[in-house]
């Protein structure tokens, strides 16, 4: 369980990183927390020729609220965001979801943007980003672009990032006045990949309900009016739309049942904590 040979370069500026990406493309990988990447390298599932360590880029270490979003830089660890004093006030859904991410040891290293870029269908952060309607900021030598979470996350471990691009920040929409937020997930053990995770944002008009761990990527549906008043039918349709698959931990049917049952509970919880 040793990785293939690779080069390692620690960079001080984003420009250096994207310059290396432009030159090396798919052969290069950005190293931030390494909590998924390094394990995959040890299994030789991923064999980059170059690791570009961005943890020393000062400009990527910030958590900043602007224009209705909280921008989280690519070097910000999950632990740092959890410790951000305004988290519960400005990003209540994240505050509820983040304790479910791995373990405190992995959160101390793992980064917020790294989890988004990794795009594991069972991870909490991609689900929260999708449910809130957040954005991903990408940079390359060709320029900068900002994608909606839904456009960025294309499938299991797959994103719209081009090989010469790096994720420099993710943008979480701040708390909407009067909205209620709820999150829960079902795992076999504390910190495991979710069999099913559910997040909801309830406003006066509608509920945005996001589900992770069932389809190939986090998926969001909106419920309003009659469908919200009695959500069982809509949740059933959503569960079947997501499908799910069997693996050694759970059946597709079980996952769909969780969409229905946890979905209903989380909708109610989000509505009940509207202010």
């Amino acid at each position: 369980m040793k990785p293939s040979a690779f080069d390692y370069q620690r960079v001080a500026r984003v420009e250096e990183a994207i310059d290396l990406l432009a030159r090396h493309g798919e052969d290069a990988k950005i190293l931030a927390g390494g909590q998924s990447l390094v394990a995959m390298m040890n299994y030789r599932l991923v064999e980059p020729k170059l690791l570009i360590d961005i943890t020393g880029i000062e400009g990527l270490a910030s958590i900043e609220e602007k224009g209705g979003f909280v921008d989280v830089g690519a070097a910000v660890t999950q632990a740092r965001l959890m410790a951000w004093p305004a988290l519960a006030e400005r990003l209540p859904l994240l505050a509820k979801a983040m304790p479910h991410i791995g373990h405190f040891q992995t959160r101390s290293r793992g980064t917020v943007c790294g989890s988004i870029a990794h795009s594991d269908p069972s991870s909490e952060l991609p689900l929260v980003l999708a449910t809130l309607g957040g954005q991903v900021v990408l940079r390359s030598k060709r320029g900068s672009r900002t994608l909606a979470a839904d456009d960025f996350q294309t499938g299991p471990l797959s994103t719209a990032r081009e090989p010469d691009e790096m994720v420099v920040a993710v943008r979480f929409p701040v708390r909407q006045a009067g909205a209620g937020y709820a999150f829960d997930e079902v795992t076999q053990r504390q910190g495991d990949f979710a069999i099913c995770s559910v997040a909801a944002v309830a406003t006066a008009q509608e509920v945005r309900l996001g589900v992770g761990g069932v389809a190939g990527r986090p998926t969001v549906t909106r419920l309003s009016g009659a469908a919200l008043a009695n959500p069982d039918g809509a949740l059933n349709a959503f569960a079947w739309e997501l499908g799910g698959s069997d693996d050694i931990h759970a059946t597709a049917q079980y996952r769909r049942q969780l969409v229905r049952r946890i979905g209903r509970r989380i909708i109610e919880e989000a509505q009940s904590c509207r202010s």
Partner: protein
């Protein structure tokens, strides 16, 4: 003999471990930390991705060209240098340290590369080209028993190399007189208690002495030392096994490393340099060991009041691909005590050894007990349910009666002491059973799912080394000669300054043996345990050892600890005689305390312990008449009660028998099926406790694993033979968050058969906890058939019933159920804006096909519509390079074709086929497809969770490119791509 016989000053007291400081500060040197001599090379092992295949050829030419690579070995080298391992059954099922001609499980060692470091060695594994011819695999235990099943060992002619039938008492009469017959079939899963440090071997062949000098964390028993030396064609002393004092955990699993010891010995001999191999986690989970999974068909003949008249057991114990000695031990290790804690005189047992294409089974903590007690205690719960009685009442009615010890069980176990009724009564009282019942009733009133479970277990310790001969018939046993006993060695030495050192044969795996030995020796010699230096290393060239040496069957407290006391007493007797001479009293008057030796009735006139010791060293001539010189004594102990099986097939399988009674309350979440352990009480009668703190440590450890077995842990295979639990993300060991604090209770019925009165305590909860929790889940849900682990998904299926159908008009986006295993299946269709002929042309033209196959580096025609290709496949950053054969068949131009492919690469293998159908539609072509893919090897064992989605993505890539290629390679086709995504249920 003296005042301190009985309760010792230190023995029996809760003393912290002398090992703790070293372990907790991270200063313990585990096997991988041990220094190796300069020039040591590092090995990596190539493993089979197939559950069953013929090895047609192995091409290693490229390997040695890689810089830093020193040697490569295959099965042929092993065949030349070694003999096959001896096995317990005389059947033609040879096993070697590397696969010869055929692989029989995913992960079987096929070749070994030795290089300057492990990185290079692993790089070089990719240079080995193995041609396999995949064969049908058999995975399910009962599937393997069918007449048409693929044969794991064709020369045996059957997948059941051994069946034995045993009858005790008059079971036919018992079943004829029964009011009711209660039946249950159990399918106990594969699991293992996984050590922190895996296998480590450093082998150093010394040609001048022809000695294989091996440092490893092998844990014994040393019954396999002769197996290894025979394989290596050397005399016993030429195989020197050294073990460090600290182990990264064993739990039985480190017995099964012996083939790797032989493998590294051969590698070192071939290379002329020391070779080190450190097993990694994937290797350990995939290929090291599992407790045998077992199918048990159990019947109880019962009277209306719950009295069990007789039992019928038929067991199918699944040993995977090979029978490594001492397999099939788990099927016989508990044989004498198959009736558990119950006074049942009539029983039949039919034992089948079953072979399948899974990792070979082996020794794992509990050693057959978890399987037995899971069936027996589930059966007792069913007796209660089916008769409408209270489960605990049924258990109590059948217990071995108070006052009947020593009690000879039907199959031969001699339970030497105990009081099961009092243990249960005390547990119920001290553990608050009445409160727990009220709690359950209250929860149920509120509509919650709450259940109480019970389990009673007789915990055997110190195996009778003859137990496995029960597998042979009486005639065969007479021919082979009797086997029994269990010899233990401890050496106690005193130096010229009175320093006391101890070595012993127990190969501790973290239990705290040094602490107990220090307590024992300190008590005998009137010293403090901190004054005793214990060196727990072992070296077969220097230290006494027997086939029983090692760490297994909870043998320490009734075995090595006793030999420690015997050795200390020999020293004590010598020192007492020397001191008596100086003090002018007879030796029987001598006492040892506080570092001094004195006459009991004149304690003020004492001699320092160190001074007496010095006399023995400096003035041997001053020793009392007839006393041999020297202050180093070996204590040897083998209890006489461990007799060979008798002609009625009765066998006293263990020396001591403790008792465990557990009860627990669980609550099940109706929405999620999650089982929450609300309360767990475990009562142990393990005879005299040598150190209550260490005893509780053993209970915690066994309990934690028991929780894992009940709720989380399983080595999973699909029906095709792929192994699916190769990481700790899929093999789920419970963590501190999942294991509640049990209430541990004790009572002490000393064993009259060992001088210390102690029994074993390390394995009871491995046997009691899984079934106790399962019985609670059964009580909560009313379910009869429960298969461990009780994952939320499985428990939800018990309580939730069918899910609602999809709404009218909404097709099932979910894929159809897996056909014949975890074969991934999918289907879809897309509209291509080109005529069927054009699409057809794209598929059959090698140049365009090369562009359609994702990640295709090269595509060479090797026959009509048959290609060999090199492709890079994967999702996201996960990419594997594969050699592929691709074929198009069943051609019906331009209507349909069958596209099939086989992939082989470092990430494993995949075999799949897809039917592609082309139908004209609106000026274009409707391309429909249905595929089935089987993935095995590394990718399946570490990426199972994402495999389905990844496969879909790769298939999508193919059709995306087909659309693009048919349109003349132009990009776009997004519309069609979206169509595919919709069909596959991904994306929105």
């Amino acid at each position: 003999m003296s005042a301190h016989a009985g309760a010792g000053k230190y023995l029996g007291r809760p003393m912290e471990r002398v090992e703790d400081a070293t372990l907790l500060a991270g200063r313990a040197l585990f096997c991988d930390d041990q220094p190796t001599r300069p020039g040591t090379m590092h090995a990596a092992i190539l493993r089979s991705p197939h559950p069953h295949a013929k090895i047609l050829a192995i091409d290693t030419q490229a390997v040695l060209k890689r810089k830093g690579v020193k040697a490569v070995l295959t099965g042929k080298d092993i065949q030349a240098e070694t003999d096959p391992f001896l096995i317990v059954l005389r059947k033609p099922m040879d096993q070697w340290a590397l696969a010869v001609d055929r692989v029989r499980f995913v992960g079987e060692a096929v070749a070994v590369v030795v290089a300057e470091d492990r990185y290079i060695a692993e790089d070089a594994l990719d240079d080995i080209l193995v041609s396999y011819e995949p064969l049908p695999a058999v995975i399910g235990t009962m599937d393997a028993t069918k007449p048409d099943a693929p044969l794991v060992h064709p020369l045996v002619g059957s997948n059941i190399p051994s069946t034995r039938h045993f009858t005790y008492g008059d079971p036919d009469k018992a079943f004829a007189e029964a009011d009711k017959i209660v039946e249950l079939t159990i399918d106990y899963p594969r699991n293992s208690q996984t050590p922190l440090e895996g296998y480590v071997v450093v082998a150093d062949y010394r040609p001048d002495e022809k000695v294989f000098d091996v440092l490893s964390n092998f844990q014994g028993p040393f019954t396999v030392h002769p197996v290894m030396s025979k394989a290596l064609r050397c005399k016993g002393p030429q195989l020197r096994l050294r073990s460090p004092a600290y182990s990264g955990g064993g739990f039985g699993t480190k017995q099964a490393m012996f083939p790797y010891i032989v493998l590294m010995c051969v590698a070192s001999k071939k290379l002329g340099a020391p070779v080190k191999w450190v097993e990694d986690r994937w290797e350990h989970l995939t290929a090291a060991i599992a407790a045998p999974n077992r199918v048990i068909k159990a019947q109880a003949a019962v009277k209306k009041d719950g009295l069990v008249l007789g039992l019928r057991y038929e067991q199918f114990d699944d040993y995977g691909a090979y029978l490594r000695p001492p397999m099939p031990g788990p099927l016989y290790r508990q044989h004498g005590i198959m009736t558990g804690a119950y006074d049942v005189k009539n029983m039949t047992i039919t034992n089948h050894v079953v072979m399948t294409n899974k990792t070979p089974s082996g020794m794992v903590r509990g050693f057959g007990g978890p399987q037995i007690y899971y069936s027996l205690e589930r059966l007792m719960q069913r007796v209660a349910v089916e008769l409408g009685l209270d489960p605990l009442d049924v258990m109590r009615r059948n217990l071995v009666p108070r006052g009947s010890f020593p009690y000879r069980a039907a199959a031969g176990a001699l339970i030497e002491s105990g009081d099961f009724q009092t243990a249960i009564a005390n547990a119920a009282e001290e553990g608050g059973l009445a409160d727990l019942k009220r709690r359950r009733d209250e929860a149920r009133k509120q509509g919650r799912l709450y259940g109480i479970g019970y389990a009673a277990v007789v915990e055997p310790a110190q195996s009778n080394m003859g137990y496995l001969s029960t597998i042979n018939t009486v005639e065969e046993r007479h021919k082979a000669g009797p086997k029994g006993g269990n010899v233990a060695y401890t050496t106690v030495s005193v130096d010229a300054l009175g320093g006391v050192s101890v070595t012993a044969d127990s190969l501790p795996q973290g239990q705290g043996h040094a602490t107990i030995l220090a307590q024992i020796v300190a008590d005998e010699l009137g010293l403090h345990p901190h004054e005793i230096t214990c060196n727990m290393e072992r070296d077969t060239q220097r230290d006494p050892w027997s086939i029983a040496t090692g760490n297994y069957s909870s043998r320490f407290s009734s075995s090595t600890a006793v030999s420690g006391q015997i050795a200390a007493r020999k020293i004590r007797d010598k020192l007492a005689r020397i001191a008596a001479q100086n003090l002018n009293v007879t030796p029987d008057k001598i006492e040892f305390a506080n570092g001094k030796i004195f006459a009991r009735d004149n304690p003020d006139d004492s001699i320092r312990f160190s001074r007496v010791a010095g006399t023995a060293h400096w003035s041997p001539s001053e020793l009392p008449d007839g006393m041999p010189p020297g202050l180093s004594e070996i204590g040897v102990w083998s209890p006489p009660e461990l007799e060979p099986p008798n002609d009625a097939d009765q066998i006293n399988t263990s020396l001591t028998y403790g008792f465990v009674f557990d009860f627990c309350g669980v609550e099940i979440d109706r929405d999620t099926g999650q089982v929450k352990i609300d309360k767990y009480v475990t009562m142990h009668d393990s005879g005299k406790l040598l150190n209550p703190l260490l005893a509780d440590g053993q209970v915690y450890g066994a309990f934690g694993w028991g929780v894992g077995c009940a709720l989380h842990e399983e080595f999973a295979y699909d029906k095709d033979g792929s192994f699916l639990s190769g990481t700790f993300a899929d093999y789920l060991c419970p963590t501190a968050c999942e294991v509640p604090e049990p209430i541990i209770l004790h009572m002490e019925s000393p064993s009259p058969l060992t001088p210390l009165g102690a029994k074993g305590i390390g394995e009871g909860n491995c046997m009691s906890t899984p079934v106790c929790l399962a019985n609670a889940v059964a009580d909560a849900t009313g379910a009869k058939d429960l298969r461990l682990p009780l994952s939320p998904s499985k428990v939800a299926a018990l309580i939730q019933g069918d899910e609602p159908p999809p709404p009218a008009g909404q097709a099932k986006a979910a894929l159809p159920p897996m056909a014949g295993g975890r074969g991934l299946v999918g289907e879809g269709s897309t509209l291509v804006p080109a005529a069927p002929e054009a699409v057809w042309q794209t598929l059959i033209d090698p140049k365009s096909l090369a562009k359609v196959i994702p990640g295709c580096h090269s595509l060479d025609l090797v026959g009509p519509n048959r290609y060999r290709a090199v492709v890079s496949l994967g999702v996201g950053a996960v990419r594997g390079r594969f050699e592929a054969s691709v074929a198009l068949s069943d051609l019906e131009p331009p209507k349909s074709a069958l596209l099939s492919g086989d992939l082989l690469g470092p990430l494993g293998t995949a075999a799949g086929q897809g039917k592609v159908t082309l139908v004209p539609e609106g000026g274009g072509t409707r391309v429909s497809y249905a595929y089935q893919v089987v993935v095995t090897g590394k990718a399946a064992s570490i990426g199972g969770r994402l495999l389905d989605g990844a496969t879909r993505l790769v298939v999508n890539q193919f059709f995306k490119r087909l659309v693009a290629q048919t349109q003349g390679g132009a990009p776009g086709g997004a519309l069609f791509w979206d169509g595919i995504k919709r069909m596959l249920g991904i994306g929105s």
